[in-house]
């Protein structure tokens, strides 16, 4: 398989690169100065693209690679891949579900605790010597708060399981109600936001869910409510979120994703009721290795004409 061209647009994981290099002809697009020319030069050998949360495959890229057979994404979210076009062109698409579910759910709870109990802010308080002048102020208890989950898929369910261990009642909004789960269903996102203390975004990004967290939802969540975004930046109307936080219309936010990563609205840097992570939801050594292994196994299966392990298309 060493002659199979696999295009990787941006760095994602040294381990993944290493494993791909062992098996394929890995083309690292970020290392070349003239990217468009490079793609033209290698167009006839590129049969696979490695995608991730930031880089996928749009119609233009797919059209420039006539030998493209598969897009293997190093992520579970594949909003950057034109799935419809892939289907039309017979290009397979795989992602990395399940292996990262726990890590992402862990971060949702970690962010909730960090925001409500001001863990990051009081760490800063101690490091700056302020503790010597007086204790930090009262914070808000997390146990027992109502956790609203937007999207009750694998990750949403894993968040619910953890929140339940903190005696948090669980409410949710999903495309369809799931009566087998004993959680409170709300038919609209605004109603969910009005009836929970912490709102966790855990659904895929699609045309329908773009800006699903808008001004109305933010206002419904309110000055004591906390928004946790572990989905995609575009789930949230970011300028609205920023102004709500600055004006005190929203109680707090824990964000792992943004509209235009790695750019983060600088107005958020100085406020104490937000915690900002650099899209680290699945960023553990164990999980990145597991994701990389899944990408490799999907590619190997494809090129050996075996069934894909985690196909999306």
């Amino acid at each position: 398989m060493e002659s199979i061209g696999v295009l990787m647009p941006i760095p994602m994981s040294p381990y993944l690169e290493q494993e791909l290099e062992k098996r394929f002809n890995l083309l690292k697009l970020w290392t070349v100065p003239h990217k468009a020319q490079f793609i033209k030069d290698h167009a006839t050998s590129i049969r696979a693209i490695i995608g991730n949360a930031s880089a996928g495959a749009d119609a233009e890229l797919i059209d420039s690679l006539p030998k493209l057979e598969i897009v293997a994404s190093f992520s579970v979210g594949i909003d950057k891949v034109d799935l419809k076009y892939c289907k039309e062109k017979g290009v397979r698409v795989t992602n990395t579900p399940d292996v990262l579910t726990d890590d992402v759910a862990d971060i949702a709870i970690g962010l909730s605790l960090a925001v409500m109990r001001r863990l990051s802010e009081s760490d800063r308080y101690v490091r700056s010597g302020l503790w010597k002048k007086g204790g930090y102020k009262l914070t808000t208890k997390f146990t027992g708060k109502i956790v609203g989950i937007l999207g009750l898929g694998r990750i949403g369910k894993a968040v619910a399981k953890r929140a339940e261990a903190f005696s948090c009642p669980i409410a949710y909004f999903s495309r369809t109600e799931k009566p087998e789960l004993k959680y409170k269903y709300y038919p609209t996102v605004v109603e969910l936001a009005s009836n929970c203390d912490v709102l966790v975004v855990a659904c895929p990004l699609t045309e329908e869910t773009r800006h699903i967290i808008n001004r109305e939802v933010i206002d419904a969540l309110g000055p004591k409510g906390v928004l946790i975004n572990i989905g995609r930046g575009h789930h949230v109307d970011e300028p609205e979120l920023v102004s709500a936080l600055l004006e005190g219309r929203l109680g707090g936010a824990g964000l792992d994703v943004y509209q235009n990563e790695p750019e983060v609205p600088e107005q958020l840097f100085g406020i104490e009721n937000v915690v900002l992570l650099p899209h680290a939801g699945s960023d553990t050594t164990e999980t990145c290795n597991a994701m990389a292994d899944l990408v490799i196994r999907n590619l190997e299966a494809h090129f050996l004409n075996k069934p894909l392990l985690t196909p999306v298309v």
């Binding site: 009081s122 490091r127 808000t140 997390f142 261990a165």
Partner: protein, 326 residues
Amino acid sequence: MADDDHSELPTVLVLRRCPFIALLEPKCSQKFNLLKAWDSPLPQDQFLTTHARSVQALLSSGNGPPITAQILQFLPSLKLVVTNSTGLDHVDLAECRRRGIAVANAAKVFAEDVADTAVGLFIDVMRKVSASNRYVRGGLWACRGDYPLGSKIGGKKVGIVGLGSIGLEVAMRLEAFGCSVSYNSRSKKPSLSYQFYSNVCELAADSDALIICCGLTEETHHMINKEVLSALGREGVIVNVGRGAIIDEKEMVECLVGGEIGGAGLDVFENEPNVPKELFSLDNVVLSPHQAIVTHEAFVDLGELVTGNLEAFFSNKPLLSPAVIN
């Protein structure tokens, strides 16, 4: 009975002002006559001799002046010490026992908040929450790229030191994250299925992380020493929501600076509010200013419990949260 003849409310002595007492005062002063030692120009000993001889109840704060045998000597009528803390290391329990003075503490009222802090600190250290928050706020994500990878929580072996009400709440939470929980405690709890270790060093050797949830006593002082930290190992993480002195702080700092343990989440320190400055430059350490119990909700619950204990005492009813002091 009240020292002040003009008041019919029972008297409760408070030695030093603190934020908790200030919060409690509006409600408390309707039911009790708060005798405030700090309000007087007299030095404390003189104040107590002059005004507190018939005081039966003392309201103490966990980080206030210790209730020593010397102080108790000035209070011959004292029958009750109510503290706003779960920890009792600031009260001379032997002397209370000798004098027949009952002690009421905060029991389980904070257990959830402390457990939340312990888990929050644990996730923070493992997943580098505060460190990467700093990284993003410093504008470094855009120019330096992704932050280094953290460590997965699921599947990790967590050793809880002290499986009382707080330790149990921590255990329940961590199970939901897929951790396997073991513990060391004064005695095995046969009704629980967690693996018991009678030796804290053995627990550390078999754990990826230790969470300190026990009280500070003579036995637990510096219980987490160099031997235990070495057993925990280079990848091991320690979280402390008990008392600073349970850990040999100097040893722990050396281990952290030398990379001999993987990281620490600390809410308590040996000499608060002083924190060893070597820790300030470490990204694998999360520091918290003894605030595991400092939530609005805990203070409301605590206020009700403290008031409830005092009311029970003065109406000759059983205390709501008597501490066992043998």
